[in-house]
């Protein structure tokens, strides 16, 4: 349904109706800004990056051949935009997210446990940021698309098998980097031999 509306808007834009692009922007602004946020951890910069992605997508619209869903194509354009932002600006410094902090405080039934969880979470985030780009992008896209390998692979423009291999390798590297910071004993289950 959404794809039909996107395609219709694309047709109108290509026919010269620039205002039709606003439909696309309104529909996809949230996901694109949130995806950008995964790369920069700064809401203001995320909007700048998403705007750049929308403008680049507008420029590239005549090249959209309609072979895949418009959203996949748009995410692929956005990913390229965000990667080039990262190349230009280097690694973004992860910022403490006020919202996360507020949520953490509100949910804190055990302050010590909560602090550990928060601290490990930040370590995981930093370890992800420090991964080589292809593994980091694979992980970010995979979780962004709610564990949908096919959607993440389309957004990255790689075959699903490649994405799976990158996810596997990315997790291996994270395990090595994080080492003992990952708690053993919380949340696992025992199974009978």
């Amino acid at each position: 349904m959404s794809d039909d509306r996107d395609r219709e808007a694309v047709q109108r834009v290509l026919a010269g109706d620039v205002d039709a692009y606003e439909d696309i922007v309104m529909r996809w602004q949230g996901p694109l800004v949130r995806l950008a946020y995964r790369f920069c951890r700064d809401p203001g910069r995320a909007e700048e990056m998403a705007q750049d992605a929308f403008v680049r997508a507008w420029r590239a619209l005549p090249r959209f051949r309609g072979e895949s869903a418009f959203s996949s194509w748009l995410f692929a354009v956005a990913m390229n935009t965000y990667r080039s932002h990262r190349r230009r600006h280097g690694r973004f410094v992860a910022r403490l997210e006020a919202l996360d902090e507020a949520t953490a405080v509100a949910d804190a039934s055990d302050p010590v446990l909560d602090f550990e969880r928060e601290s490990t979470g930040r370590a995981v985030q930093q370890a992800v940021d420090a991964l080589p780009a292809k593994y980091r992008d694979a992980l970010v896209l995979y979780y962004f698309h709610e564990l949908d390998v096919a959607a993440a692979a389309r957004s990255l423009g790689v075959p699903e098998g490649t994405l799976k291999a990158q996810l596997l390798r990315g997790r291996e590297l994270l395990r090595k980097k994080l080492g003992r910071r990952l708690p053993v004993g919380a949340g696992f289950r025992e199974v009978e031999a």
Partner: protein, 143 residues
């Protein structure tokens, strides 16, 4: 000994990854975001619809260059070099005659003549490029 499945560290890692990467932060674009994007897009559209600048015909440059080099080679091969040497000698005589003495550097006269020709050629090239871009400027002014 009971085996663990999956590796508890994997499970912990997975839980953290989901929390850090999957949990969508309550981040909604600002109210002005869509307007800002559309302003940028309209500016791009205005640029795209503006008349394109007349570009230098680089595509024609190579064949033109080959043709002119061929022609130059042909002309040079046909030149009476003996007479040219005489002319250079005459030029030197003329300089001597005008100044009343032989120049300290007798090679300077033919070099000067050659330099003047090169300068003339460059001037001609600049004038040609200017002339090629002139209609574009004129057209813009008419608009």
């Amino acid at each position: 000994m009971k085996p663990f499945d999956p590796d508890p560290r994997d499970e912990a890692l997975e839980a953290h990854l989901r929390r850090e990467l999957s949990s969508a932060p309550d981040l909604t674009p600002s109210a002005a975001f869509a307007g800002s994007v559309m302003r940028a897009v309209r500016a791009e559209a205005a640029l795209a619809s503006a008349p394109h600048a007349l570009e230098f015909p680089w595509g024609r440059l190579l064949p033109g260059l080959i043709l002119s080099l061929g022609l130059t080679g042909f002309v040079l091969s046909r030149l009476p070099w003996g007479e040219a040497a005489d002319s250079a000698g005459l030029a030197l005589d003329r300089v001597t005659e005008l100044t009343g003495r032989l120049p300290e550097t007798p090679w300077i006269a033919p070099t000067l003549v050659a330099a003047l020709w090169v300068a003339f050629g460059l001037l001609l090239a600049v004038a040609a490029v200017k002339a090629a871009t002139l209609p574009r400027t004129a057209r813009l002014e008419i608009r």
